[in-house]
């Protein structure tokens, strides 16, 4: 076991991890942050997307020890207490959420896109979300949600 320290959703966490465990496993099993989802485990589906040190990663492809000293944001960190973010609200009102299993990853990827590009063009949204599979096929509604936030706020969420 190795001791690591992470700043997770603005909270400092110091704890022991197995050196072969991924950040995904650690978030879910050590910190009980189960909002981040496990599906393909090979970095293809995007369900485990989190922000690590300012960039989004597939947390199934990062070892927990590699994240030591880093800053992690998961889907649980997007809302301000009870107040959902504009993007979370838009996902609901625009019909972007069906079964919901891919949604944490979609939200993290969309949030990252909007941090990088405040008013993304349609093809930038398609590309920005290309690493996040949605089998319910809510892609158009997800695009719509992202566009509505970009247009609505005129600035970063």
């Amino acid at each position: 076991m190795t001791e690591i320290t992470l700043r997770v959703n603005d909270e400092m966490r110091s704890y022991s991890v197995e050196p072969h465990h991924t950040l995904l496993e650690s978030l879910r099993d050590d910190l009980a942050l189960t909002g981040t989802k496990e599906c393909c485990l090979v970095g293809e589906c995007g369900a485990c997307t989190v922000r690590l040190n300012g960039v989004i990663v597939d947390s199934c492809l990062v070892l927990a020890v590699e994240a030591d000293g880093g800053e992690v944001t998961t889907v649980e960190g997007l809302a301000w207490g009870d107040q959902l973010s504009a993007l979370q609200e838009a996902f609901l009102t625009r019909g972007a959420v069906q079964c919901g299993f891919c949604i944490p990853g979609q939200l993290m990827a969309a949030d990252d896109l909007l941090r990088r590009v405040s008013h993304p063009a349609h093809d930038e949204i398609e590309e920005g979300l290309a690493g996040n599979l949605c089998r319910c096929g809510c892609y158009y509604q997800i695009f719509d949600a992202v566009e509505s936030v970009a247009v609505g706020s005129g600035e970063q969420p």
Partner: protein
């Protein structure tokens, strides 16, 4: 107040966007053990000695179970035939069939131990194609099933021989539909724990009550001692209808007297559920003027090693193969062919997409041969409301002409095409549920808020929203004051199943009735907590070929416009139009979400998806790297979805079931458009760049 039809907010939505939603794998039980399955590197292997000593030596490993640890004779289960052993016994029958299961204090220990279980085995010849399974002298997949044909389903009307004399043209072709998988983003997950004198099972499943019955039979327990807790699944698409590893987990939990959990990997999920592969031979008879005379369909559905619900998929899916048209005569023969492959199960469309692909493509061919517009051919023969298009079933229950014309109009069918583009058109039809039984309970609290209880599962289709909307509307209270409880057989009343797009109609009617009973009790002056109950039934008909007529039909018209890159064979869809007859939308946004999602899923098997097998019967493209499903980069440039609402369905406010229709005709519409754009006719799916490019090369050589 939200009205019926409005885009009411997603029931259970908040937890789905803030990470609070608990799917099965997110739940942990105190003192739980982790289970890992042990499988063989081939499809069919005679199982010899199983040496668990090295595995048991790993710290934390509690048990290694195989066939000898289960009751004798091996308990078997299945929703249709009780053919599937709880764990492989004697021989494995498909790649991924578990021969042993390890239980350990940690997942790490279980995984390490699973690799150390030594299984002696002798690889045996496996059959993984229709041709191999039906060949003379082929190995039998199941004892007692000669020729590997589990059942042959026949349905016919009219006098085909007489009708054939009226046909001026017969178009005959064979079409193939590949083996594909549901690929719910949530891999299947199961837990079981001893509970007093019984057992509680947590599972990501569509039919908690069917599972309860199956577990009670398999474990020889009364229903009252089997509790199924079923959190909302993270996508299901039919793949989560029936038991997979719940019986194994239940036996392990009872024997170990500890909770056990098994979360499949995506690769293991590919080895747990899939759609049937199908070969369909179609003979269409028509006149030169475009009157359809007969349809003769013969299909081999390659099901897996165990039946699961696949034989019903074959029977019900093939039944309506002739489509929504009036014929003098129709005949459908379909066989469930066993093979040494993953047990195939329900998958959105339930056996229809395979025959729809064939028959609708053959109609496109027929239209071309007589020089008639393909939409015109369909309109000429389409059943009108009330037409008994299948003489012994529910007559045409919608304005299908209106839906067809709407799709053509939205596609700009009569307008000139841009240079280099092709257009294709196809119709889809599916029988709704043939039997059904749903109960609901509604409690009105002292503060005027209400809870709806129902055994339907919200698998992503938005059932929570729909039932809340119905109850709110009937009780005259705001939607925010209604909550919906699902997913626990210990709490909610019985519901037969969540499938066949039934829930809005059947459970919807039950919720409606329960809410109205609350209202009546209020009107009668009752006070305190007021409880209403309601039910909805679809009575079976033992004389019907399917055991019951269709409660409604799902009808969809799809049109696409696309171009093909002649250098690469890559298809770009510029416009995809999908129009469904939904009777009445309870929530128009959710109808749109379901229809567009179904259309995109249809594009998956049309353009890119299929299992690839090797000689040992192993799936070569297990997992997300080598098996591709549509991403945000693979979509039609423009998606237009629309709905027909004539209030003519049997559900609340005239609703019909929907959500599968928009998937059915996608393949035939896309292939027709490829033909229109390039002149090449392809009768095998998927229309991958490689396949299209090869066809273009052949066209250019000839």
């Amino acid at each position: 107040m939200t009205q019926i039809g409005d885009p009411a907010p997603r029931g259970g939505g908040r937890g789905r966007v803030n990470g609070e939603q608990r799917y099965v794998a997110d739940i942990h039980l105190p003192n739980e053990l982790h289970v890992k399955l042990v499988t063989l590197p081939c499809a069919r292997g005679r199982i010899g000695d199983i040496d668990s000593s090295a595995a048991l030596a790993i710290p934390g490993v509690v048990a290694v179970y195989s066939a000898t640890d289960l009751p004798h004779p091996m308990p078997r289960f299945g929703p249709q035939f009780t053919d599937r052993p709880v764990i492989a016994t004697g021989e494995t029958k498909f790649h991924g069939d578990p021969v042993a299961a390890v239980a350990a204090e940690s997942l790490d220990a279980a995984e390490e131990a699973a690799r150390l279980v030594k299984v002696e085995f002798e690889e045996l010849q496996a059959v993984v194609t229709v041709a191999a399974a039906r060949a003379e002298g082929a190995p039998r997949v199941q004892d007692g099933v000669a020729g590997n044909v589990l059942r042959e389903h026949k349905v016919a009307w009219g006098d085909l021989d007489a009708a054939a004399k009226h046909a001026e043209l017969t178009v005959e072709n064979t079409y193939r539909f590949p083996m594909v998988t549901q690929f719910a983003i949530e891999p299947h997950a199961f837990m079981a724990a001893p509970d007093g004198d019984g057992v509680t099972v947590w599972t990501s499943i569509q039919h908690p009550y069917w599972l309860q019955r199956l577990l009670a039979q398999t474990l020889k327990l009364p229903l009252a001692r089997v509790r199924v807790i079923a959190p909302d699944p993270g996508g299901a698409f039919g793949g989560k209808q029936h038991a997979k590893y719940e019986p194994l987990l239940a036996f392990m939990a009872l024997k170990l007297q500890r909770p056990v959990r098994l979360v499949l990997t995506l690769e293991e999920t590919f080895q747990a559920v899939r759609r049937t592969e199908t070969e369909v031979r179609v003979r269409t008879g028509l006149t030169r003027a475009g009157k359809l005379v007969f349809q003769d369909v013969d299909a081999d559905y390659l099901i897996g090693a165990y039946a699961d619900i696949a034989d019903r998929v074959v029977g019900k899916g093939s039944y309506i193969a002739c489509g929504p048209y009036n014929y003098e005569a129709g005949r459908v023969t379909a066989r469930s062919v066993l093979s040494h492959t993953v047990p195939s199960t329900a998958f959105r469309g339930f056996g229809n997409p395979q025959v729809n692909w064939a028959v609708e493509s053959n109609l496109t061919e027929a239209a071309a041969q007589i020089g008639l517009d393909p939409v015109e051919l369909r309109l000429k023969n389409l059943a009108k409301k009330g037409d008994p298009f299948i003489p012994f079933d529910t007559p045409c229950d919608g304005d299908w002409v209106e839906a067809t014309k709407r799709a053509a109009e939205l596609a700009g069918w009569d307008k000139p095409k841009p240079e280099g583009r092709g257009r294709g058109f196809a119709l889809g039809i599916k029988s709704g549920p043939t039997t059904g039984l749903s109960y609901s309970k509604v409690r009105l609290h002292a503060d005027g808020s209400a809870i709806v209880y129902c055994g339907t599962q919200d698998i992503g289709q938005g059932a929570r929203t729909i039932f809340a909307q119905i109850a709110a509307h009937e009780l005259g209270i705001p939607l925010e004051r209604v909550s919906v409880v699902m997913g626990d057989t210990g709490i909610v009343p019985y519901d037969q199943q969540t499938s066949a797009s039934r829930s809005t109609v059947l459970m919807g009617n039950a919720v409606l009735a329960a809410s109205r009973q609350v209202r009546e009790k209020l009107a009668a002056g009752e006070s305190g907590e007021i409880v209403g109950v309601g039910d909805a039934k679809k009575e079976p008909d033992p004389d019907h070929p399917l055991g019951g007529s269709a409660a409604f039909f799902e009808f969809n018209a799809t049109a696409v416009e696309l171009s093909v890159d002649e250098e690469t064979g890559d298809i770009t869809i510029h416009r995809h139009v999908t129009v469904s007859d939904v009777g009445k939308a309870i929530n128009r946004l959710q109808v749109q979400m379901q229809d567009e999602g179904a259309a995109i899923m249809g594009l998956g098997h049309t353009l890119m998806e299929r299992y690839i097998w090797d000689d040992a019967g192993r799936i070569r493209n297990l997992g997300a790297i080598d098996y591709r499903i549509p991403t945000s980069m693979d979509l039609p440039e423009v998606m237009v979805s629309d709905m027909i609402e004539n209030g003519d369905g049997p559900g609340p406010y005239g609703a019909k079931g929907m959500s599968e229709g928009a998937l059915l005709p996608v393949s035939a519409a896309v292939a027709a458009a490829v033909r229109d754009a390039t002149g090449v006719v392809i009768r095998d799916l998927p229309l991958s760049p490689e396949r299209v490019w090869t066809a273009l090369q052949q066209r250019d050589r000839s």
